[in-house]
């Protein structure tokens, strides 16, 4: 770059910067009008100036950008986190509901009168007899002790003088034979007898097995009333047997 071009360049820049006036300005404008290379140089200077302006602007925005990202990220992150927590909680709650629902549905569908009955039923065991007692044993009791329930029913003759014990054992035999209907009738009879004689003999047992028979006979509503009565009475012999699970299962049977 010799001195004259350098001078020209400087003048051109001054012109671009708006630092020329009067004759100097007019001269350069005349030259620009006829000299394409000078035009190109002016164009190039303008581009350079433009690059600087953009750089300055970018620097300015960049400083604010960092600041704003911190400002906007905090609430955004917070709500994001909050939203995420809510979303996860919802998902967790939904899963729990789904699982619980599944468990409930499974137990609801799998619960059946037969299952509830058999998972709660234990055969009634008579106390062991001493040798001398043999002659007092009725034929019903004898057959029951031998676990010959058909024989026990055959030996059973219902009449007003039939003992509470025989009635009860006949009822138990019906249960063992799967005849809930007749078992129910006989348990009711035992309870009536107890009522009449102001006795409690085999009362608790009858109530419990009656409830189980109701379950098996698909009368969960009646069974439930009886079960609640037993559960509410802490002195009842079978109080401990009535679990919340049993109550729940019977409730489910009600809705089936």
């Amino acid at each position: 770059m010799d001195n004259s071009t350098s001078n020209m360049s400087e003048k051109l820049l001054q012109y671009l910067d708006g630092g020329l006036a009067g004759v100097e300005k007019e001269n350069i404008e005349q030259q620009l009008a006829t000299d394409p290379s000078l035009q190109a140089e002016l164009e190039s200077l303008k581009e350079t100036r433009e690059a600087l302006k953009l750089y300055g602007l970018k620097q300015k925005v960049s400083g604010i950008h960092q600041q704003m990202m911190t400002e906007l990220q905090t609430p955004v992150k917070k709500t994001g986190l909050k939203r995420r927590i809510i979303r996860y909680s919802m998902a967790a709650a939904a899963s729990i509901i789904l699982i619980a629902g599944g468990i409930f549905l499974y137990s609801f569908l799998s619960v059946s009168p037969g299952k509830v009955f058999s998972s709660n039923y234990r055969s009634y065991e008579l106390s062991t007899m001493r040798d001398g007692d043999t002659q007092q044993v009725s034929s019903v009791e004898k057959a029951y002790r031998e676990k010959d329930y058909t024989k026990a029913i055959e030996a059973y003759t219902p009449n007003p003088s039939t003992t509470i014990k025989d009635n009860f054992l006949a009822a138990m035999s019906y249960i063992e034979l799967g005849n809930s209907k007749d078992a129910i009738e006989l348990f009711k009879k035992v309870l009536e007898q107890d009522e009449l004689q102001k006795s409690n003999f085999l009362k608790d047992e009858s109530e419990y097995y009656l409830a189980l028979s109701y379950i098996r006979n698909k009368e969960p509503k009646t069974a439930l009333e009886l079960l609640r009565k037993i559960k509410d009475n802490p002195n009842h012999l079978y109080h401990e047997k009535i679990t919340s699970k049993l109550i729940r299962q019977v409730k489910m049977l009600k809705w089936r």
């Binding site: 360049s9 400087e10 820049l13 910067d17 164009e43 190039s44 200077l45 303008k46 581009e47 350079t48 100036r49 433009e50 690059a51 600087l52 302006k53 953009l54 750089y55 300055g56 602007l57 970018k58 620097q59 300015k60 925005v61 960049s62 604010i64 950008h65 600041q67 704003m68 990202m69 400002e71 906007l72 955004v76």
Partner: protein, 201 residues
Amino acid sequence: MEVIRNLPDQELVENLQTGKRMDETIKAIYRNHFESLGWYIMNNSGTRQDAEDVFQEVVVTFIDLVQKNKFRGESTVKTFLYSLNRHAWLNELKKRGRALAREEKYEKGKEQAEPDAGHLIADREGRSEIMKLVGSLGETCKKILLLFYYENLSMKEILKSMHYENEQVVRNKKYKCLKQLEQMLNEKPHLKSTLKSLLNG
């Protein structure tokens, strides 16, 4: 500092043109538009970092266009920013080679309804290369040039802040620095079109 939230478009544009309350105005743009524009990118296979980078670019481009009187208020600021943002991101996706065909198709259908801002924000890569070149200038050069061409300070004002003997020294320094940058830019002929579009829009 005052926090401007609901800045009417007209006032916002005026502030950017005159440089009045520049910081608060830029902040208002961030507060009002970053979330929805960023959301668009993050919902179109972008990360939050992508959203931030593109938004910064959008803001720079927008201010530049406003200052060159190229934003004429034919659409709202919001629509205009959205359009810049969308184009910048679609270009970026194309560059990354994973533009979604569905997205492109959808966008094509929308083209007429919005101002065509495509060319205004094109060539992010070229711009970023130019920014790097300017950034690589010596600190003194950068300072003088920015004070003069960006901050629009007079030679007298620059002289005060730079401790030079006299204005002529500053003027000479500024001339040399600008020439240096011009040469650096001219050494990269592929940046010519980017520079031209910067200048002429």
